[in-house]
Amino acid sequence: MADNNGIELRGLFKIFGPHGEKYMQAVRDGMTKDELNAKHGHVLGLKDINISIPASKIQVIMGLSGSGKSTLIRHINRLIEPTAGEVIFQGQDICKMNKADLLRFRRHKTAMVFQKFALLPHRTVLGNALYGVELQGMSRKECEERARRWLARVGLDGFEDHYPNQLSGGMQQRVGLARALTNNADILLMDEAFSALDPLIRMDMQKILLDLQEELHKTIVFITHDLDEALRLGDRIAILRDGEVIQQGTGQDIVLHPADDYIADFVKDVNRARVIKVGTIMSPVSGPANGFPTLDAQASLEQAARLLSSRGKDRAIVLGDNGAAEGQITLRRVIDAMVTPVASEKEISRPET
């Protein structure tokens, strides 16, 4: 897939209320959300959002409810009009498109998956899956062919003639995913797509999405309030609070270097062993390399610990992309990095005797 499928969000502001534009200058000059609400009865939804969403990668937008994440994703296909700012895709500002261009953009370039599935209850599973391509004006036969292919791909063959009401939540969301994939759009917008599913099914769907992404390489914007989900799926993560981006980077960046106490608090319960890669904590090779196990720089600490303990060694060599030794890692270093640096738990060590 082409490399120009990234999305640039530049200086995006959204003020909810009848006269949002009137207060833009005041907000730019530093008026806070609370002040704006108290003085003018308008709600600041998004404040100066700047995110470069990379092409063909999964960008996660994370935040708690009310942080503006659902508002943000709806700016990308302009279901919500921004008060100020630009959304650039393939050199075009989506916020400046006229109605016809916007419809074309939504039909051909984007597809969306919703938290509450938002399936058409009066249509069968097949009828739902082909909704997007039907709107594109494709022939009925081709619509059905494509939809059947994607339904099979998400594990729904045999259910084409069921109605959404007859399916469980997990299966309904598979229909939602198939509907979005049938569109064959470059951008996939997923608004808390898996939040309504129970944990096991959610893991299942995450796996389906990761497997699909491996071959499809779409530009995916994934909204979630669940940090584990964000770390599992996100090539990049942006954390939103009160309509502002407070940190963005890779999952590892965020876990290792939280920007403030709020994020530190967030990440303290994360399973660091799965997030942190050995490449980030390795040190230069010292001593002989022969006879020690080797690891890929992209391997997680968990994988490293498992390898070291199974081989009975306390040192491993880390290999770079070209297969040459780039550094080393010790068991002690692995354990150090796994432990949360913040002294959040009660001290449990006893004085030495």
């Binding site: 039909r107 249509r123 909704y131 007859q166 509907r179 569109n183």
Partner: protein, 295 residues
């Protein structure tokens, strides 16, 4: 004290002149434009007469077969189909066949007209809050104003006959279908509408693929109510010269014929129940997709 005792009403002569003025103005309007309005409604009259003649000319066994077939198509219920056959056989045996056909013709044409005008009107109302704000009070007036009152201007314009009767029936019967179309569209799940938007549906595509299908149960309830109200107007319509089951009822009231009144009244009830049950069953069958709700 005098001021509190008697309401300070308009002077007698002023009031009389006002009423006279309005009457004169309307009479003038009716004299100058009556013909044009009558011409406007002429195709409607021709259609109604043609349909009534068609029903009357159809041999009765064929007619009963057609009715039974329609009932079966609508309800898929043997019980109801047999019930409808027996009902019409009894109606015919008791000598009310001709009047019943006239009434059926009037109700069918009136319902058809109400749907033709009512559903688009309901869609318009659902699209714009301003249009809703204008139409709602008009519908309120149409439903509450005594039928005799709006019969006066209709009579002045068009005289006695089938068309004024039809208009009177429609005025009374159209509000439910308009209201429930509007309500049904407004109640459509916002999430589903957003999904349609996200996939690039134009307003027209949204209407056809999402709003109307999801509003259908409500629209159907509206059509059902419209039919019931149209049947309720049969007797009043007969006062301005519309033939049908209302005519004998009117005659029975004037002459205290108990049996005649009861028979024709019950025939109206039978038709009403039949229409109601069949259209409700049909509406439910359209909702096939909501039958099994997953837990």
């Amino acid at each position: 004290m005098d001021f509190l005792g008697a309401f300070p009403q308009m002077g007698r002569t002023d009031l009389r002149d006002l009423k006279k003025g309005i009457d004169e103005a309307f009479r003038h309007f009716s004299r100058t434009h009556g013909q044009a309005i009558e011409d406007f409604f002429h195709p409607l009259l021709k259609f109604l007469v043609w349909f009534e003649k068609l029903l009357l000319a159809t041999p009765w066994p064929l007619m009963i077969a057609i009715i039974a077939a329609l009932v079966w198509l609508g309800s898929r219920s043997i019980k109801m189909t047999i019930g409808s056959i027996l009902t019409f056989l009894l109606i015919g045996y008791l000598g009310m066949w001709k009047d019943t056909m006239s009434t059926l013709a009037l109700i069918s044409v009136a319902t058809f007209l109400c749907i033709l005008i009512g559903i688009p009107l309901g869609i318009l109302m659902a699209r714009s809050d301003r249009i809703q704000a204008v139409i709602t009070p008009i519908l309120d007036i149409m439903q509450t104003i005594p039928s005799f009152v709006y019969l006066i201007p209709v009579l002045m314009l068009l005289g006695i006959g089938k068309v004024p009767g039809l208009i009177a029936v429609c005025v009374y019967a159209i509000p439910p279908v308009v209201r429930l179309t509007n309500l049904g569209i407004r109640l459509v799940d916002r999430d589903v509408l957003e999904a349609a938007d996200a996939f690039g549906a134009s307003p027209r595509q949204k209407l056809v693929s999402v709003q109307l299908p999801l509003a259908l149960p409500n629209i159907f309830a509206g059509i059902n109510q419209t039919i019931m109200m149209a049947l309720g107007m049969v007797v009043i319509a007969s006062m301005i010269g519309v033939p049908g089951l209302g005519v004998p009822v009117l005659k029975a009231v004037n002459n205290q014929y108990l049996a005649l009144g009861m028979m024709n009244g019950l025939a109206i009830v039978a038709i009403a129940i039949l229409f109601d049950r069949v259209s409700q069953k049909f509406g439910k069958r359209l909702q096939k997709h909501s039958e099994t709700i997953h837990g």
